[in-house]
Amino acid sequence: MPMLTNLIRGIKSLVRSENVERDLDDELQGFLDESIADKQRSGHSPQQAERLARVEIGSTNTVKHHIRSVGWETSMENLLQDIRYTIRTLLRSPGFTAVAILSLALGIGANTAIFTLIRQVVMKQLPVQNPQELYSFGAAGAGGMLGGVDIGTVELFPYDFARQLQQQPGPFQSTAAYSSFGPMVNIRIPGSTEAIQAPGKLVTGNFFQVLQASPLLGRTLQPSDDTVKNGNPVTVISYHFWLQSMSADPTVVGKTITINSIPFTILGVMPEAFHDLKYGVRPTDFWFPLTMAPSVMVQDNILERDHYFLDMVARRNLTHSLTADQHWLDSQMRNYARAATGATLSPARQQEIDHITTPLTSAARGLSSLRNQYGDSLLILSVIVAVVLLIACANLANFLLARAIARQREVSTRLALGSSRARILGQSILEALTLSLMGGLLGLGFAFVITRALIAFVMRGSTDTVLSAHPDGVVLSFTFAISVVAGLLFGLAPALQFARSAAGPTTLSPSTRGTANSGGRFWPKALITSQVVLALLLLVVAGLFLRTLRNLQDQSLGFERTHLLIAEIKPDIAGYTPEKAPVLNQRMLESLSAIPGVRSAALADTPPISSGAWRSSMHPTGYTPGQNEEMGALLRRVSGHYFETTGVEIVSGRGFVPSDTSTATKVVVVNQTLANKYYPHGDAVGRTIGVDLDTNGPWNIVGIAKDTRTLDLHSAKPEPLIYLPIVQLTGPHDSFANIILVRTVGDPTMTTRAVRGALHSIDPNLPILNIRTMQEHLDTFTSSETLISRLTSTFAILAVLLSAIGLYGVMSFNVARRTNEIGIRMALGASNSGVQWMVLRESLWLLAIGLAIGLPATLIVARFLRSQLYQMSPFDPVVFAAATIGIAIVTIMSTWLPSRRAASIDPMVALRYE
């Protein structure tokens, strides 16, 4: 086919060009000779014939050029020539080239960094077969254990229901269940002295088959492993644990490690890419058969009825309809609820049951808490970094436009010498692409650094993470693509200039260079105005996020935030029984209170503010609940000095005192919300209240505590809360304290070592999961707001800087170009300050137009951010005013120097300037 022959010919001509030259010469010479011979035959003399023949043929070089340019290899040579020319030109103005590449690198790098994170956090599918067939029952957003609820109303399931569906999956290919949270387990590896703690998951035997995930070594769990309650201590471990804690030992399969004091056999190792269906910051390290739950979660009755702690997932057959599958699932749950209710089924109850449903949600991308937390922020950020890149491109477009105007003479000359317009335009696009591709390359480096920093922030310093900063093929293609697009965007700017230039002698005359050709000045103005609009937008967005963060951080919490240290311990996995707990608690309190620098110490089940919630239903005496009224409250178990240690104020009655022992009357302290709700006459103190717990009540209310923030920093109204004294609680779980609170006199971080030492001296094997200050703990509740406000302000400042540079450049260039005109004006009587005002006025006009467009546009965009803000309106006047003033100041500052330069022009010099 001609294409192939042409390709070969072109390559031959590139590679062996002397041969091709020789052929061309021969052909032309042959033609010439024939022509001469012919003319001689017609009767001319040899010299005449030769002259005539040569005149006919014209310039042999031109003919050769025309023949050559038919093939594609000429375009190739032209391209190489243009590339060399471009590089020379760029090197000739190193300052411009450096600034251009740097600003492109920052813009492209930011875009790549955010894209990398979005790919991993928001977009990535599970590394299993056919992830689109996986559906979770409900969104699986919660993790925990509930009792006394209806199936299908909370998105958690009990063991017997999970088994039932596993054995009879109905229309699904298969269903599996897994613990909705990863309990920390205590691990002892033979040969090592220290125990380590890591998260594990309990899963049904068919879990890995449902996910269609294969192991790296050994085997995964099978349904046969998951039959006998507490009978089969086996586990599958993660790649990360295998690498870090077992030194990637290739013979690990079949070895035993001790978990929660029980020897477990390792069945296999999962590959590096596998990270579980539901995952958060910390990847799961162990998978246990669900039947081992009592040992792993240190709770004997967890597999019995009314313990809702499992999430479920099904592999659907995609040929079935989703609604049919949903109906089947709902009917299964309703049947279960009916059976659980027992004999009598009131019509109201029937109604209730008929509304039970749990939506089947796609789990193709896994269920990631990171995505829930940061997904929105990342999407907002992707828009913002795109805007920053646009601003950088607008800058470069302006610069290239200015250069195109300055090089008009060169262009006209080239056109006159026979170059095609396309070639000149092509060369300018080549220049732009060279800049943008180099910017892209440097940007990759920036992106790596930025991504690493972002991941470190999101992971809060922990090194075992599911996120990676290394770019993969898709990210690299993305970077390449936006580099090319950016290059084309600003590379076409000179084209707008060339469209006007004519290849005639008129453009060579000097006088035209001095006039302000208003048609050609449109684009720089438009670009500057759009930069003002975009920079204003970014400043406002950053301001809104900063203010929201400030609002969140500055609100009053109801408890001490600065001089408090929190330590998390897990005595149950180290073998402590409920009977041994009170002694341990007492020893810890005594030891900690004795540390110098400690004002007081207390124990609790959770920190004062925690996303984990312990709830139960309760019955205040003297209160008749309404029909279907939910009678529940948050519960906290605390030691005696809790209220002084945390600074929670007791507004009425008293806190807990030493005389509230395990044998004394059962007492509780309630919060204001509970008191006001159920005892509106203010007589809560002295009343009794029943709480559905392992320990029997009734409980006497001895005090009312001030409301505090309990679950998060956002929610509007506090919930009713009951504080229970830990010494008065019994039961398999309730006597354990998992949190130690230490109120310090000075800086809490100074006391960390002492606390560790004190705990170690009581029991060196007591697992201490982490120690941090209350402030650090609080910061975790604002991590996504902190992230986004820091990033948006950084990008806003970057955008403003870029716009300032752009404006300065354009104004300087304009002043230089109008030097002649300014000289004339001054010679005709204009004052220095008049000239300065003339230049300033131009940029103020651009600023005004930019604000006129930008403010309404920003108002429209700000509306979409309403859900991200806290206690403020998206149209906050302070933020808008600050942003507007900021832009105005920057605009004036950027124009100041050029305008002064204009004012100091010497007319005599200017008039001769061209």
């Binding site: 033609f31 011979a37 038919v70």
Partner: protein, 115 residues
């Protein structure tokens, strides 16, 4: 008699027709066209040789080096099957155009003679 360059756009068609009779080299094509057109058309080599190169690129002609009548090394051009097809198509188009123009010229002449 006036010697003109060929009618615009017809150079390739004329080359194809010339080569359809017999393969020849560049000068041979020029000579033949001049002879057959009885001197009306004279092709300048600056357009002929690039045109031949273009046609070779498009695949309508094939070239090979041979010894010419004068014992010189010369590049001979030959029509390919694709070229033959192209010739037929171009000939049809040309005939259509010529008859159309002829019709237009006739009617105007009549109209002006009647007016």
């Amino acid at each position: 008699m006036g010697q003109h360059d060929v009618v615009q756009g017809t150079l390739e068609m004329l080359i194809l027709k010339t080569l359809a009779l017999e393969p020849t080299h560049g000068y041979g094509v020029a000579t033949r066209i001049e002879q057959v057109s009885q001197g009306v058309f004279r092709i300048n080599p600056g357009s002929l040789l690039p045109a031949l190169a273009r046609m070779e690129q498009a695949g309508s002609v094939k070239s090979e080096w041979r010894t010419s009548e004068n014992n010189r090394r010369a590049k001979y051009y030959k029509l390919t099957a694709r070229g033959r097809k192209a010739l037929t198509t171009e000939e049809e188009t040309w005939n259509r155009q010529v008859s159309a123009i002829a019709r237009i010229m006739q009617t105007s002449a009549k109209a002006s003679s009647e007016a």
